[in-house]
Amino acid sequence: MTAENEATGHNVSRRELLKRVILGAATVVPASFVTGATSAQESFETLTSAEAATLEAIVARLIPTDENGPGATEARAAYYIDRALGDALAPSREAYSAGLAAVDALARRTKNAAFARLAPQEQDDILREMESGNTEGFTPNSSTFFELVRTHTLEGTFCDPHYGGNASFVGWDLIGYPGIRIVVTADHQRLGQSPRPLHRSAYDFERFVKEVLRRDR
């Protein structure tokens, strides 16, 4: 068998399998972000409820819901992080356990309440302390954990909705990203043009659904 046949055979058999999987996946995947209103506590899979409450409170301050519209809460960034910690971000699971516990301990020590129960300005005080790296109780230090959460919150707010974040495309709409287009015209690239925002995941395009199969295998 030549290499070319080998490659073709590989694809054909997978395509058949794919058709069956996609019928299910296509209905399941979008549903995960359409139902953005679901209580996050009900759907966390990796974090404990105490960890989830602290994380939700942090992401809500990093990218707040305000006069400029929805933030990380509506994007379901904490939900994205929770899912990813059981998957691609699994190596960070320990850092979250230790870090979130340290945030809460810091809040109780300095403000006499769990982080999630503090007023927004008090939460911001604590986050600024963490960012500066001067706070004790974190390994190796608080700024490392702050940067980790900030990085993942940005991912969860601006990623493809396939991953459970950027729910209802609130992240892309915030920064004016006009969305995934398979063909882009010269007009789309002119100064002063604002291409009409498209709200589609990469995996809403049938040509890329193979990846869904791999992920679910």
Binding site: A3, P64, E131, C159, D160, G176, A186, Q189, Y203, E211
Partner: protein
């Protein structure tokens, strides 16, 4: 127990950007070629426009041999190891990293082939950076031109010629050496942003030109034109418009009937005869061990793995590693000085969400020796490059130019307004080889098979730092002329694992200072050829891939013409 396979004429280790080019002339000449590739075939369905997967998480991760042997860096021989990267800069697949590279396909400029002699002639020997081991290439640009031409047409490169047989065309790069004919395709289209930058460069009396790209600007052969969808960087092409070897030279080589592609083949050793010639390659596939005998071995992995494979292939004839009896394997290493970029903030949207990094505007006025260095404190320079393609996570991670905090409501208001008003630049600057910069095997860090990984000992020296500062000045000037309201200079960083890694098996006539001869064959093991930027002794100011590909074609052509004397 190792399965001994039937002998083939040529075995190519690594069917990527360079192995995938060499396979075409070899098989067209009727030689039987077996290509051993650590990765698999990928199809268009693998190339989803997904920033998180491609750019943030370093797709593809699964079954990536490279990610299990990421080189470890330290800045110098007495410094501790730097934190290890989590993703290898290169990928394994048929077509290799040419599947997801930017595809910028510049030729080198004439000066890059004779940096040492030209610097001595124009400025005096004292101007060669202290500690540098730079040598002239064993030939000049004219010698490589026919192979650049073959490669550009076989792959499919779009671009605007600047010098056809000595006739200068100001629409292209006026500093390029003579080429025999135009590119096979016109350049990629411009955008509002690239037009803005080109106009500003002209006002400065510079010579902007659209960059040459391994991307179809119009249908080429049986492949579609680029659709500019904005996921080209670290993403494969879903319409087949990127001229990766996987869709150009490799299928053409397969059509000859002389190319046998073995995927998921993990090569662990090149074997030698008592006379010092090589006789084949041992590889692992699906838990089995195979020996593939061959008349000629072409090592075509990547700079780090080329060096590592040689150093791991020890024998009675080569106790310090294959082709290393002169102690030159791993020496003369350099990685392109591409840090020290410049970021710019503009007063209105640039509309660069779409496009691709190869859709841009270059300026070579400050590259190489295109300007007088008599009163400067460095040699060389850089290519200035601005381009399109912006992804949402990267846009949100933008530098705040000192105008906002890094989170909270004020930050959110800032990125809402400015996510599409900033841009970066890609500044490729001259890097010299130095005695102190080299590759070897790490004493303790191993891959899952227990083999040591490659260790990089390298850092930028004064010449590189001064060239970088000078080029940043020029880039700031260009952005300001185009209307930027803020600029930020990024740090030069250090020389960790990169996609632009050169040397380690340098090419030259002198066997005491070079691993391969002027044709790319080992000075010590005459039927071992080495392909890739690991044979290049200078970086120039342009992306390495096209030059490495032209050199691979030239090595293959030399092998075809001298088959009886080289093969065993």
């Amino acid at each position: 127990m190792t399965v001994r396979l039937e002998k083939t004429d040529v075995v190519i280790v690594g069917l990527g950007a360079v192995g995938g080019v060499a396979a075409l002339p070899l098989t067209t000449a009727g030689l039987e070629v077996t290509a051993l590739e650590a990765g698999t075939w990928l199809s268009r369905a693998d190339f989803a426009p997904d920033e998180l997967r491609n750019n943030v998480r370093g797709w593809p991760r699964s079954a990536q041999k490279a990610n299990k042997e990421i080189p470890v860096h330290r800045p110098n021989a007495s410094a501790p190891d730097s934190p290890r990267q989590s993703v290898h800069p290169m990928m394994n697949a048929v077509g290799g990293t040419s599947l997801h590279y930017w595809g910028l396909s510049f030729r080198l400029n004439p000066w890059d082939f004779k940096v040492a002699s030209e610097t001595r002639r124009r400025y005096g020997a004292s101007r060669i950076p202290k500690g540098s081991t730079v040598e002239d290439w064993p030939f000049d640009l004219a010698e490589l031109e026919p192979y650049y031409d073959h490669t550009e047409y076989a792959l499919g490169i779009s671009g605007q010629a600047g010098n056809i047989r000595g006739k200068i065309d100001a629409r292209g790069n006026i500093f390029e050496g003579p080429r025999q004919r135009a590119y096979p395709m016109p350049p990629l289209r411009g955008t509002g942003f690239t037009d803005l930058m080109a106009s500003a460069a002209r006002r400065l009396d510079w010579h902007p030109f659209p960059g040459p790209a391994a991307v179809n600007s119009e249908p080429y052969e049986n492949r579609a034109a680029c659709v500019y969808h904005g996921f080209c960087s670290r993403g494969g092409c879903h319409v087949g418009a990127k001229s990766s070897t996987a869709v150009s030279t490799i299928p053409k080589a397969q059509a000859t009937g002389h190319l046998n592609v073995v995927t998921e083949a993990h090569v662990i050793e090149i074997s030698v005869n008592d006379d010092g010639g090589v006789n084949g390659v041992t590889y692992l596939k699906n838990g089995e061990s195979y020996f593939q005998p061959a008349g000629v071995v072409l090592l075509a992995t990547y700079t780090y793995e080329n060096v590592r494979t040689l150093l791991l292939s020890k024998s009675k004839a080569y106790p310090n590693g294959l082709s290393n009896n002169h102690g030159q394997v791993g020496k003369h290493y350099l990685s392109h000085n591409t840090g020290a970029g410049v970021l710019a903030l503009f007063p209105s949207s640039l509309n660069t969400w779409y496009g691709l990094p190869a859709q841009g505007i270059a300026v070579d006025n400050w590259a190489d020796d295109n300007f007088d260095h008599a009163d400067l404190d460095f040699i060389g320079g850089g290519n200035l490059w601005v381009y399109t393609e912006r992804h949402p996570i990267a846009a949100a991670k933008m530098n705040t130019f000192g105008r906002a905090p890094r989170w909270g409501s004020r930050w959110k208001a800032f990125i809402k307004e400015n996510a599409d008003r900033w841009t970066g630049s890609y500044l490729q600057k001259t890097t010299f080889p130095y005695e102190e910069n080299y590759l070897d095997l790490h004493p303790t860090v191993q891959d899952p098979l227990g083999f040591p990984v490659c260790r990089i000992t390298a850092d930028f020296k004064d010449n590189e730092k001064r060239a970088a500062a000078f080029i940043q000045d020029k880039m700031v000037q260009w952005f300001k002329e185009a209307g930027a309201i803020e600029t930020v200079r990024q740090s030069i960083g250090t020389m960790g694992p990169t996609t632009h890694a050169y040397g380690g098996t340098r090419m030259g006539d002198n066997a005491d200072t070079n691993v391969v001869d002027r044709w790319g064959f080992s000075h010590e093991a005459p039927n071992l050829g080495i392909l890739g930027a690991s044979v290049m002794g200078t970086s120039g100011a342009h992306n390495p891939t096209l030059t490495a590909q032209a050199l691979a074609w030239r090595t293959a052509a030399h092998l075809i013409g001298n088959w009886r004397t080289i093969s065993s």
